[in-house]
């Protein structure tokens, strides 16, 4: 069983598209729904936590392997 409801594959996309795609995905989920964001733009490292803070979402985890990032975000209320 996966630890998220929706995958946002933003690999190859530049800032701010990974955030815009995450934002769009979040609108389709209920509170506490989770997205998994995959990205290669290094901006995600600072932008995703900021986006979560601005929108009241919870950054559950973020891991990096080379130029690849994977993050789980839970929708806030």
């Amino acid at each position: 069983m996966s630890d998220y409801d929706l995958e946002v594959d933003a690999r190859g996309l530049l800032c701010p598209l990974p955030i815009l795609k995450s934002d769009q995905a979040m609108t389709t989920l209920p509170t506490q729904g989770k997205i998994c964001v995959l990205a290669t733009d290094p901006g995600i490292e600072r932008d995703l936590p900021a986006w979560c803070a601005v929108n009241g979402h919870i950054l559950v985890s973020m891991t990096q392997q080379g130029r690849h990032w994977r993050a789980i975000v839970e929708k806030g209320s």
């Binding site: 800032c15 701010p16 598209l17 815009l20 733009d41 290094p42 901006g43 600072r46 601005v54 130029r67």
Partner: protein, 355 residues
């Protein structure tokens, strides 16, 4: 939300255009200081210079990761940020601006009118009472002038409802000021290109984390970038572009040996990785027996002499440029073949091939 909502709740709501630079951040702070509920909007045009170069190229050792300034400014301000992708609608602004271009291909006035109109429409939809921006009279040669502010307000259909808190004292009173929603005496009268008053205000408001004003925020003001865009339009015989086109203009060395094809050659490992995401539909050339860049071919090359020239140029930018021959893998999407060529010497690559 109507004006009656203010009588009912006492809450005045303003929507600001936030780039994340110092001016728009200060404008938002001045209104927050007056107890106004502030929300912001940031538009993605596809030409945002911010962080793209650093995201595409190898990072400088020790440099922090790039960031989206508006997002971080919104976080510092503690305000809601609406991030809106306007890149599709924006094409017509770039290809056919009513008010023309600035020094390069920057349609600043049309861009500002477009964004202000969008923000005003959003404000009405989301229940904000007026909009604001961080514009300062005389700061930008095309869009921030005494004669262009009224053009923006008129053509965006926002006359009287766009407040410019940093330069308000030099402008006629706006509706929010007349209604007493905003205390004009607590706004500023900044003027000109100098940054000292803004920096002094930032210090007073304890705003320390803001991006450097140098460098601009849009690739359309960049001479090198717009030269590539003009080249694209000229050889395509029309001024349309796709998101893929404008992204590719941001990366690599662009060389056009003939009108019907152009090479895009990665300048470092990170650019090669970026370019590799655009292989689909394009011929690619990659060195095989020596380290070298990924080369993407834009355009049709079927003639053997064109393919040979493309390969020789690609080899020239590899570690094997001084070797008698270099092996390359050429993939046109259907057939992959290995070829061996002599790298093109520098004197056979004229300057005017560099876009």
């Amino acid at each position: 939300m109507t004006h009656a909502s203010i009588e009912k709740t006492g809450v005045i709501r303003a929507l600001g255009l936030l780039s994340g630079g110092l001016d728009s951040t200060l404008a938002a702070r001045l209104l927050l200081e007056q107890g106004i509920e502030v929300g912001c909007v940031n538009f993605h045009t596809g030409f945002c210079i911010q962080s793209h170069t650093s995201a595409i190229r190898n990072p400088k050792p020790g440099a922090p990761p790039p960031r989206h300034d508006a997002l971080h400014a919104a976080q510092s301000l503690g305000v809601k940020l609406h991030m809106v992708d306007i890149s599709s609608d924006y094409v017509r602004i770039v290809t056919d601006p009513k008010h023309g271009y600035g020094k390069n291909l920057n349609p600043c006035l049309d861009c500002k009118i477009f964004m202000v109109a969008k923000a005003w429409a959003m404000a009405k939809e989301l229940g904000y009472h007026f909009i604001f921006s961080g514009e300062v009279l005389g700061q930008r040669p095309m869009s921030q002038r005494r004669d262009t502010f009224p053009v923006i307000d008129r053509e965006a259909g926002v006359k009287g409802w766009l407040l410019r808190p940093l330069t308000a004292l030099r402008m006629p009173e706006t509706e929010p000021e007349k209604m007493g929603w905003v205390d004009r005496s607590r706004l500023e009268g900044f003027n000109g290109r100098g940054r000292k008053p803004q920096m002094a205000l930032a210090k007073k408001l304890a705003i320390t984390d803001y991006p450097s004003p140098a460098g601009g925020c849009c690739f359309l003001t960049d001479e090198n970038y717009t030269r590539k865009l003009r080249d694209l339009w000229a050889y395509r015989n029309n001024r349309d572009y796709s998101m893929e086109d404008i992204l590719l203009l941001k990366a690599g060395r662009h060389i056009r040996p003939a009108p019907h094809f152009k090479l895009m050659i990665g300048r470092d490992q990170s650019e090669n990785l970026f370019l590799s995401g655009f292989r689909k539909g394009r011929m690619t050339i990659q060195t095989k027996n020596t380290p070298g860049p990924l080369t993407l071919v834009e355009g049709e090359i079927t003639a053997a002499e064109d393919r040979l020239l493309a390969c020789r140029i690609a080899a020239r930018y590899s570690k094997g440029k001084d070797l008698p021959t270099v092996q390359l893998t050429v993939d046109d999407g259907n057939v992959t073949e290995v070829v061996e060529v002599t790298p093109l010497p520098a004197h056979e690559l004229p300057d005017h091939w560099h876009v």
